[in-house]
Symmetry: C2
Subunit: 227 residues, 2 copies
DNA sequence: TAGTGGTCTAGACCACCAA
DNA sequence: TGGTGGTCTAGACCACTAC
């Protein structure tokens, strides 16, 4: 067989896995053999198999060889865009309203997530899509890490937009959960107790915690992923 | 400068982006120039830059060159393990209980997701962790695609486990949302109206729809992602 | 210790697309 | 149409690890 291009190799490997030529758990030929069989260079086979391993369909180990994953852990990729873009991509007008701005001691859960105990800048705000509440934001900011944010008029400029532009993070940590609406119910204009999708994000620049934010999306919000 | 390995190249590029040597939106040198500067082959630079582009930090276009992404769309990867493994990984005993098994016409939403109108196999079941309800499963199966499942005693064998072993899917579609507990409240042993994290998954084998499943997780369930 | 995947190299050709 | 990234090749060396 003579294939052309690493994607063709990938397709053929996928076909064999799927056709049970190579059943789950079984070892497949090594790269050199496959390269010979497919009539391509080993690097081409390597590219194809690495992509499949990254997707979780193959397990690869030096010396042990490559095996079809027994329990393919499907990995779905969730892109986390800036809310403004997410809303505008739906053809809706984006709006932002700052609700509160204080300095305060954060709740224990936030202190733990950030690893900080001192007082932090606390913002609550509302993201609007076509003038309707889209998400409620509860944010704590480590001003020691980004002192410049104190000079910004956050009533006008979205804190998240300022942060992505001025304080890029190197590490982020996301938690998705569902909560019954509490204090967010009022600003979101919904009944207390409604089920809300909540995204909690903590970000660091190296070892320095930057911000903790909790986004509570209006009821009915759906996060979509593929594969 | 002389670097060694594509990860070292990646690190250096990241450093420059982060240090604002290459601010957001700006073009960075082409691969050949970087290869010369770093003292590596162009393929090595290519490997590093492709990884960064895949991560959303760079935008690459032929002829136009490579630019630092203006609005880095962070992509979080959510691994969707088999529930049994997720539970056992926490050191808890996994349990499974089939609640109902019927043939029926699916709700319109399910018909639409699968693109099928005929009657389907309908299962509801409960996943248990240490004998406590972990998630409620509502599943519709296209028996035309997997007739063999009718020969299986689903009271004993988890439908999902049977499907992953016998009917691999080539395409999947996930939706995450939050719902107030309805009929699931009873089996889950919780109050009606509690906020539940819901994962809806539709899977196909090529163009053939296999199954639609809705998992409602017990309150407090947290899905974790990194970066 | 030997076999396997991981990676690098130098060179080459090609597809795409902005100028 | 020329410059850029995308990819392939043949060969090589290395790192890891099962045996």
């Amino acid at each position: 067989m003579s294939l052309s291009g690493w994607q063709a190799v990938q397709d053929e490997v996928l076909r064999r896995i799927h056709a049970r030529d190579w059943p789950p758990g079984s070892a497949i030929p090594n790269e050199a053999d496959l390269a010979r069989e497919f009539g391509v260079a080993r690097a081409t086979v390597n590219r194809a198999l690495q992509a499949l391993a990254e997707a979780g369909l193959l397990d690869r180990k030096r010396k042990a060889g490559t095996r079809v994953a027994l329990h393919p852990v499907r990995k779905a990729t969730l892109s986390i865009p800036i809310l403004r873009h997410e809303i505008e991509a739906r053809g809706l007008a984006y709006g932002y309203r700052l609700l509160t701005r204080t300095h305060a001691t954060a709740p224990v859960a936030v202190q733990a997530a950030l690893g900080l105990t001192g007082p932090l800048l606390h913002l609550t705000s509302l993201h609007l899509a076509a003038d309707r509440p889209y998400a409620h934001e509860d944010r704590w900011i480590n001003t020691d890490a980004v002192p410049d944010i104190l000079t910004v008029d956050l009533a006008v400029l979205n804190a998240n937009q300022w942060l992505v532009a001025h304080a890029p993070f190197t590490r982020g940590d996301f938690v998705l959960t569902a909560l019954n609406a509490g204090p967010e119910a009022g600003p979101l204009g919904i009944a207390a107790g409604a089920a809300l999708m909540v995204l909690e994000r903590t970000t660091w620049d190296g070892a320095v915690p930057i911000t903790w934010v909790r986004l509570a999306f209006a009821p009915g919000h759906r996060m979509h992923m593929v594969l």
